[in-house]
């Protein structure tokens, strides 16, 4: 636990040691605003809620989260610092969790910095703050899911560009499965049970469900098990690379 916290702290301060963190947050906030106010017709809708923002959030995360996760392990391997890290008396899990939680904390921080939008809707009207809170939690879980995928992909390669592209594609596939075009395409030949399973692994569907204001335990379990699964795969890859 102590070691996980030490790694967490080192990683998190690492984000702010270079301009990367600030550039990332600035880009995230700018795009979030752009999507919400321009493309999402925030004012024209005349409703005091943050639906336009949370509708675009998955797309924003799809590109920005892999940008955080791509360096997690690829950079360690490229710099050779993975040798420094793994010859310290720490376990694989302490390293994997420390890094993952640091990246997640950073993503949640970026998400939290969109709070002026929440202030704005509260100033303009009387939104359902419960729904907004649930949506933020959903956003954090979605970010965690993307990060776990990205962390896993990053452990496979030492090339950050490859890690980024592959993470985007994998996350995209996970989003895509429940979207109407895919569903209608698959429904023609796939048995209903399988169709449900495919729809069931969609990030989008679970995120969407949470943003409606209902935090169903199943959605929570979905994201939690997804994160655990990919972090487990992540540790497994690191272990295999140790022996190869």
């Amino acid at each position: 636990m102590k070691n996980t916290i030490s790694i967490f702290k080192r990683e998190l301060s690492g984000y702010f040691a270079t301009p990367v963190a600030y550039v990332f947050i600035a880009v995230f906030l700018f795009l979030a605003g752009l999507f919400t106010f321009n493309l999402g017709s925030f004012y024209e809708r005349g409703q005091a809620d943050l639906r336009p923002f949370f509708q675009f959030l998955p797309w924003l995360f799809l590109f920005l989260i892999p940008a955080i996760s791509m360096r997690l392990w690829a950079e360690e391997r490229k710099q050779g610092t993975i040798e420094l890290l793994f010859t310290l008396p720490i376990t694989m899990w302490q390293a994997v969790l420390g890094k993952f939680f640091a990246a997640w904390a950073f993503a949640v921080l970026a998400l939290a910095l969109t709070f002026p939008m929440w202030l704005t809707v509260n100033y303009l009207g009387t939104p359902d703050n419960g729904v907004i809170a649930a949506s933020y939690i959903g956003g954090a879980l979605l970010g965690g899911g993307f990060l776990a995928v990205g962390s896993f992909v990053s452990s496979i390669t030492k090339n950050q560009v490859i890690a980024f592209v592959v993470s985007v594609v994998v996350c995209f596939l996970f989003m895509l499965t429940a979207l109407p075009p895919v569903m209608s395409m698959l429904s023609g030949w796939m048995p209903a049970a399988m169709l449900d399973a495919v729809a069931g692994i969609s990030f989008w569907a679970h995120f969407e469900a949470i943003t409606k204001g209902v935090i169903d335990i199943r959605d929570g379990v979905f994201f939690a098990s997804l994160i655990v699964f990919f972090l487990f795969a992540n540790a497994l890859v690191l272990d295999i690379k140790k022996a190869s």
Binding site: R10, Q79, G80, E83, K242
Partner: protein, 340 residues
């Protein structure tokens, strides 16, 4: 003396390539074991396995009695490791990195501050503590890496080319630091520089293509040299036939002649099988009435032994790694003055 590192039949395969091929050795407290060999001979791979970074394909490793494979954390707690090239987090400052590693090593508060102050002084990095590591010179990076290795005052030190990239003064400093620590620790260090072996190692292993080819003290290694006990003499007058007379001494393999810039004639009398020829050579000089200017005996050259023992690599063309280790050796001609 207790054995702190014990390696038995260690091997490592990368696909079809055998990097380490069943090597065994041990290092006791107070010993400094020099690990020599051409690039790609398996030195770094061995060190990576001993420190728990790589999993071996076979064999057993014990560090301070802890099996490295089963009790990795326990073993790693007792090891200080400087990896090849001293990789460090480029965005961090030495200060930040010291604090991070100290925490992981279980050092907190005043103890942490004391230990950090101690190693900072030992490796002389006080003036760059708050500079990002990526802006540091190679020498500073290496010293920061060395500081990390000795931060928790470990019983076992594994140093992969600790003086690589340092200037001669820094090299001397690092060597004296190793010598200071040597009595309480077991130190395994790899190097390309043969003079380093003579300077700091109590024992040396030459490893070639994953196998140990020589294991002995630096003196024993030198004794294997073709030039061991070569008698070097310089004559201020050189009548003809000196070479022939010297060659006729029993036990002489060959004689080399060289005219020095001061007009003296230098000769090197190379013995067969390392025989000691000082007595018979000086007798020959006396009998012939040559005017002797200087007489010395060579202990042998490590680089010569190194080249002889690792020749397999040079002759074959299918080897991936170039053998620039031998050409980069800097063994000085060790001389021992012997009264004539």
């Amino acid at each position: 003396m207790d054995t702190l590192i014990e390696i038995t039949n260690l091997s490592k395969h990368f696909g079809s390539l055998t990097a380490v091929d069943g090597i065994s050795f041990s290092v006791r407290r107070g010993e400094v074991l020099g690990f020599l060999g051409p690039n790609g001979a398996g030195k770094s791979t061995t060190m990576k396995m001993v420190t728990g970074f790589l999993t071996p394909s076979g064999g057993e490793m014990k560090v301070c009695g802890h099996n490295v494979l089963e009790e990795t954390i326990q073993a790693q707690k007792r090891i200080g490791y400087l990896p090849e090239g001293a990789p460090l987090y480029p965005d961090m400052t030495p200060e930040g990195l010291f604090a991070f590693v100290a925490q992981i090593r279980g050092l907190y508060g005043a103890e942490q501050a004391d230990r950090i102050a101690d190693v900072v002084e030992k490796v002389h990095v006080a003036n760059v503590l708050r500079q990002p590591i990526e802006t540091l010179s190679k020498g500073y990076k290496r010293r920061v890496g060395l500081a990390l290795a000795i931060l928790h005052d470990p019983e076992v030190l594994v140093l992969d080319e600790p003086t690589d990239g340092l200037d001669p003064n820094q090299k001397a400093e690092v060597r004296s630091l190793i010598q200071q620590m040597a009595s309480e620790k077991a130190i395994l260090l790899s190097t390309h520089i043969l003079e380093e072996v003579e300077a700091v190692c109590t024992r040396a292993i030459i490893i070639d293509r994953g196998k140990i080819v020589v294991d002995g003290t630096p003196e024993e290694l030198e004794a294997r040299s073709r030039f061991h006990n070569t008698v070097r003499l310089s004559l201020s007058n050189a009548p003809g036939g000196v070479v022939e007379r010297l060659r006729s001494i029993t036990g002489v393999a060959s004689v080399e002649e060289k005219v020095h810039s001061n007009g003296n004639h230098g000769f090197r009398v190379i013995p067969k099988g390392g025989e000691n020829l000082v007595a018979s050579v000086s007798e020959c000089i006396r009998e012939n009435g040559w005017k002797l200017d200087e007489l010395s005996v060579e202990r042998g050259r490590l680089d010569d032994v190194f080249r002889m023992m690792t020749k397999s690599d040079v002759e074959t063309t299918d080897v991936v790694q170039p053998v620039n280790a031998a050409s980069g050796s800097q063994t000085s001609d060790e001389k021992e003055e012997v009264p004539a």
